[in-house]
């Protein structure tokens, strides 16, 4: 008879393995880049351990290369990762009455990918903080290991084998399909995507993600309220 820890672990792994698949090549690529920028594998591992945010780590390394000040790097990283505030807000709905210490731990692992997977599981039902933590940490271990390996591997660039570069994109597409539960959400997604594309063309960096999604969500809310107003 399987213990409940084993069950929780296998559930988390079953949900999280696509993230690991995606994180490996990206992590290794980051490690290689960081090594070229003069970082030692231990320093690389330290960054991945403390930050655990892929896109901002890439930016940080390029800023380190160009001699930016620590303050400017930290501010930039803050802005890039601000979208996780929105993601945690959504997840909080499913984590009411959770133990404070577990929330402290869970917060560490909130990334685009773990958010999307955990949210989809929470909305399906039968998912708890324990399983969600497994997803976060399996992804985390894979990320740290990948980046450190990349740091050591240096010249050995991974082959773009079996389309592995598409793993994360395919994952996001699938999770978006899961989230778009009805015509209204289709419109919201289209609005958000269009705004995001437009913004990304004029504003450098990642701010288009927060701006576009906040804008689209607000439009959705306004539309909801207007429709309700018309019925009274």
């Amino acid at each position: 008879m399987k213990s409940s820890i084993q069950t929780t672990l296998s559930q988390g792994l079953a949900a999280g393995w696509p993230i690991c698949l995606g994180y490996l090549p990206i992590g290794i690529a980051f490690g290689i880049l960081a090594q070229k920028a003069g970082l030692h594998p231990v320093e690389i591992g330290m960054m991945s351990l403390f930050v655990f945010a892929g896109s901002s780590q890439f930016v940080a390394v390029s800023m380190i290369s160009s001699g930016a000040t620590a303050v400017s790097i930290i501010i930039t990283i803050f802005m890039i990762n601000l979208r996780h505030l929105l993601m945690s807000s959504v997840l909080a709905i499913y984590l009411k009455r959770s133990r404070r210490r577990l929330l402290l731990l869970f917060a560490y692992g909130v990334t685009d990918e773990s958010f999307a997977v955990n949210l989809s599981k929470f909305t399906q039902g039968g998912w708890g903080l324990q399983q969600a933590l497994v997803v976060n940490h399996v992804a985390n271990i894979t990320w740290i290991a990948g980046t450190v390996f990349g740091g050591y591997a240096g010249r050995i660039v991974p082959a773009h084998a079996f389309g592995i570069d598409y793993a994360l994109i395919a994952m996001f597409i699938c999770l978006l399909v899961f989230q778009v539960k009805g015509p209204r959400l289709v419109w919201i997604a289209v609005l958000s995507g269009t705004s995001a594309v437009a913004l990304s063309l004029v504003i450098p960096g990642n701010s288009h993600i927060v701006l576009a999604s906040a804008f689209a969500a607000t439009c959705g809310l306004v539309f909801n309220r207007l429709r309700r107003g018309n019925r009274t």
Binding site: F78, L91, D165, A167, F172, C174, I188, A196, L221
Partner: protein, 107 residues
């Protein structure tokens, strides 16, 4: 050995990354968020996923320009269909990867 300057840098980076992830969990799981906020948040997942994906599929280059020619975009159409039909993350990811790999060989 590792400079203390670097340690302070990654600690600072870690802090500014961690706090936005933690704050909503701490505040919103304890206090009852307003109906307005919950309604707004319900639109966020679809919006955020779309806002992350759309530029990746539709823009390219330095400086960024609209592009309809990326193989990522072309493969996204069948991948989307597979997601709709299979309703399975694993199957979608595997098929998406295979299609993208094929696209790399054919195009």
């Amino acid at each position: 050995m590792i400079e203390s300057r670097y340690v302070w840098l990654v600690l600072g980076m870690g802090l500014v990354t961690y706090v936005p992830r933690w704050l909503p969990l701490q505040v919103l799981s304890r206090h009852q968020p307003s109906g307005l906020l919950v309604e707004w948040l319900e639109f966020i997942p679809a919006s955020i996923l779309s806002a992350i994906l759309a530029p990746v599929l539709l823009t390219a280059g330095e400086p960024k320009m609209l592009s309809l020619m990326k193989p990522e975009l072309w493969v996204a159409v069948p991948t989307c269909l597979i997601a709709l039909i299979s309703r399975s993350l694993g199957i979608t990811v595997i098929f998406g990867m295979a299609l993208f790999w094929l696209a790399g060989r054919v195009l």
